[in-house]
Amino acid sequence: MDMGFSDTDKTFQRDVQAFLAQQLTPYLREAMARTPTVFVEQDIALGWQALLQERGWAGYLWPESAGGPGWTPVQRYIFERECAIAGAPGLVGLGLKLAGPVIYTYGTAAQKEHFLPRILSGEHYWCQGYSEAGAGSDLASLTTRAELRGDHYVVNGSKMWTTHAHFANWMFCLARTQEMDRPQQGISFLLIDMDQPAVEVRPVLTLAGDHEVNAVFLDDAHVPVENRVGAEGQGWEIAKFLLENERGGSCFAPILLAQLRRLRELAQGRPDGLGGTLLDQPSFVQKLCALEVQALALEAFELRLLSQLDKGIRPGGKTSIVKLVVADIRQKLDLLKVDAHAHHGLALETHRPLYGRDAGDPVGSIEAELAMPMYLNSRARSIFGGSTEIQRGIIAKQLLNL
């Protein structure tokens, strides 16, 4: 029973803190703080990634053999935690967290050699061709087809909810290469060069007016056979490997706790109209306290999973617990922020970005102006990456044997 890090890990933690103090620019921090979407814009993500890569840390989740620093689970957690506390931009994980591990786990030597360095350098920017309009939570019902013609596949179909497809030059994609009895069979994992006329990207605006996701149409897209990862029909296995990476092993509580601290400060400075502050309103305080306690509990749960991972025990279905709780806290927190700003929290301006030279003069304050778009985009947290309903099903099946 000991929540502290080892001395070695504490030394590592100080290294990370020192790096962040030196390298994280105010501009990057501001851009992160003023991002109302789930992911930061490409230029911010890549700007930060380049600074990390100079230190060899961009592939912080990767083993040394793939070009990463080969950190332990605890070191990765410490890194993410310190980045969160320092307000560093989130790294867009499509390449670093999803495509990379698939390639160094299932890829050929040639694929590793070609793709991995380009992911780290940011030369390749990835998007994920998983979901389709008719296959949201029911991923296996996908209908995009890839037909083998000699040395290449011809891919037809469309993908939906494709985050940052408008920035990406590569897409990893699940496509049906064979009709089988079970929908999970006959799926292959393909890497598609976006730079071809057969690939069309159409924006799908969120309810907050943000352009983050897209529909991607594949009309006879060309994919050389050597850009298939794994064997033909191995796609579902790889997809599951990738989904577990998407859901697992991250560190969410520290950023939630940082945001709750900021919200408490904010509330202390917001008048209640009767001579006191928002912290004199019991109903607001009650909600804030409940979220704080839940975030403290979540942090402990994350650390428990981490200490088990450190002993080689994979979290399995327990990552679904993390996902449910994170979505719940974030959505309530983002609503509470809207409420904290009273009338100014109802504003929804559509100009973007909200940082840098083009930010313009905010309504009320920049935090007030961010509140509504963040709240609105935050509704997606219980939908993407496996909806709340899917996560409950996973827990019932994997943890409760129901």
Binding site: L207, G273, L278, V363
Partner: protein, 380 residues
Amino acid sequence: MDFDFSEEQELLRHSLTRFAADRYGLDKRRHYLASELGYSRDNWRLLAELGMLGLTIPEEYGGMGLGEIERYLVMEQFGRCLLTEPYLASAVLAADLLLAADSEAKHVDNWLPRIAAGEAVVAAALAEPEARYERCHVGLRAQADGQAFRLTERKCAVLYAEHADALIVSARSSGGVAAEDGISLFLVPPAAPGLSMRPYRLADGTPVADIIFDNVLVGEDALIGTPGTAYPALSLALDKCDLALSASAIGAMRAIFDATLAYVQTRQQFGRKIGSFQAVQHRLADALVRIEMAESLALRLLAEEPAEGTAHRRLRAGLRALVAETAIEIGHEGIQLHGGMGMTDELDVSHYHKHIMVVRSLFGDPDHHWRRYATLARAA
């Protein structure tokens, strides 16, 4: 005892359904919102022709002289079609303020007929950034200067202020910043020297503005009613506005619920309609229960003997709180059950939800109204 609407009321509802079918739909609405005005002058004229703008204005001022039942019906339909026009701002709030506050009838002759005819849009500048939602908090100062007044400080989120023909401004002529006594109302031209606006949009596209008053000089004739006594009128108008906002929220939540019900009956996942999943069924059943309760409470308010006093005002505050909380829950469920599609600008579900977010908190969020309810319940 009867909870049905009368034949005339049903006709009114019907004429609005037709208006909405002709003039609304997501694309048309987008178009109205994208204009500089933020709404359609054609719709506005049409609403005037239908008598809607004078619905609750007395006949002597060119209105129809109807009551809150009719207003409820109208606002509920406007919530269902996500009306973009300044109905609530001008025909409800400003008209009610004038009727309640203009004890010396200096302004009603001039403005009410024009509001009813759609010739003027009047905006009420009440909210302030430091006030949160407290009605008695008025920090904008009205300093007497001979027979005139000088207005200083700021208002926020003033509905349709930028293109309004007149502003009704609450100001403090005496008393502490959160005292009920000492509040006055003024009718101020938007072009008055020293007055500047920062226009922006609320989540549902409603055009609003923050307004800075830098020593704005207004004559004694700008006063509405006697100085320092405006609070009861202000509070009455906001009480009535609460019901109108609740009606709009009920319309919007019914629309989300209907859309969601239709969606789960067609959308397939895992080889089945998602409406066949028990967890989905139980959640929609619970949603219906909550909607029915909120709507029943609204009908109760309409159907009770004409009542004033604490019990009635308490019920109003309770209704606003219950409807606001129900509406956001229904909105969240609607988005969630639509999955990714609920998150997009493409379906109307998200637009309804943004409207719900606005009517949920305008002039008071649920916590505010629960506190009001608790205070009134204790006083009873």
